[in-house]
Amino acid sequence: MTHRTILHIDMNAFFASVEQALNPALRDKPVAVIGSAKRTVITTSSYEARRYGVKTGMAVWEARRCCPDLILIVGDNRRYTHTSTGIVRMMRDYTPLVEVFSIDEAFMDMTGSLRLFGPAKNIAMLLKSRIRRRFGITCSIGIAPNKMLAKLASDMEKPDGLTIIRPEMVASVLEKVPVGDMCGIGRKTVRVLRLLGITTCGELGRFPVDILKKRFGIVGEHLHRMGKGIDESPVIPAEQAEPVKSVGHSMTLERDIERREDILRYLLQLSEKVGRRARRYGVSGRTVHLQVRYADFFSSFSRQQTLPDYVNLSDEIYRAAVGILDSVTLEQPVRLLGISLSGLRHGETQLPLFSENPRKVSATQAMDQVNDRYGDFSVTFGTLHAVDEEKGSFVISPAWRPEGIRCVDVE
């Protein structure tokens, strides 16, 4: 039986490490990256800060209580996407089978490349060396016969680690691994498994699969296989990935807002970003979604509207979003807004509504050409120019990819 050789690369404290590499004054110091100077949640923190108990998602006041000397940095998303893209390019020097999992994680299937480049361990160490030299940051790499185990392995030694799980080691390694350490087994499942007397992967693998299926349905079979360390999912490079099902943007606002005209201005900004990306990649969609998170951070809602026609013009998307907004009563000031377009039709070579409104289509095409050349929002709606200084902070979605429609320019 031939085993696969899969590498999982996990950048250590990625955003904070990029900041420390670029600014020597931050090195070896407790650093936390936040989304916006006026916002108060930690996006990620350096290992020095983590030693004090600073964690992702923590409020700034709470983080400062853990670590009074904590240095806060407003994140620069373009730095992170640039670095991530460069690292993925390095990975592709060794194999075309690279699957970007998120901005700081990727899988490589090296099975067919080992004869060319030598043992996987050498490739992993050279990759670590190249990343450290080029970007001044470290990563942890896991090598294993499948994606699930490679990811588990990369988590085993942080920061700057390399862990190899050879096929003959799988059973002994999994014997004592807590089930919650497996990617895909969440806290809720861990609680239910504990009630069944299962705390480790070894126990999960030995547990009667029939009982698991009775308790979890079809997921029970999958859990059983996870306990055994079996995962046949392939590494899927971008060009073989399924077409995206939606195009969306969201932003956390600099301050909570409640005036209708303020909300509409941000919706227009988001609609333009969604429309631009949809047009650039030749997709249009029939369903517009609006997401709103309130000032208390915890409450939010999401509504959608399906349109009679496929759209990708920014003002069509905007009008649908405003229609959704007008159908609800806002309960609190707004902290986050998001718009997405789904029900997509791919391969649109022409803008929709061409026959209905050729002047609008021509104007949009002209605007897109100018913005392609001089940058987003170089030419845009007058309403947005008036408030140029008050743009929200965009979040890098877990679905971000270094190229294609998922390559979102997040300033």
Partner: protein, 82 residues
């Protein structure tokens, strides 16, 4: 990373604890001073033990390999771009 695979002359310090530290090496009629060894790792290939060193000289990243059986050094690869 460009593959080289050339035998090279390397100056090395053997430090206590069986640690090896490359200090400089000759390549293309130039002496390259090692500023930092970013990573080092062993590789077993049958009876042979190779010691790999990823080193930088301020201009490029080099992979030096020491064949412990043959007691010879090879420059395996170089990455010169910034």
């Amino acid at each position: 990373m460009e593959r080289i695979g050339e035998p090279v002359r390397v100056a090395v310090i053997f430090t206590p604890g069986r640690n090896i530290r490359p200090v400089w090496f000759d390549w293309k009629r130039r002496k390259h001073t090692v500023l930092e060894t970013t990573y080092s790792w062993p590789e077993k290939a049958g009876d042979k033990l190779f010691l790999h060193f990823a080193v930088v000289d301020g201009e490029a990243l080099y992979e030096l390999v020491y064949d412990t059986l043959e007691q010879s050094w090879t420059l395996n690869g170089v990455e010169a771009e910034p």
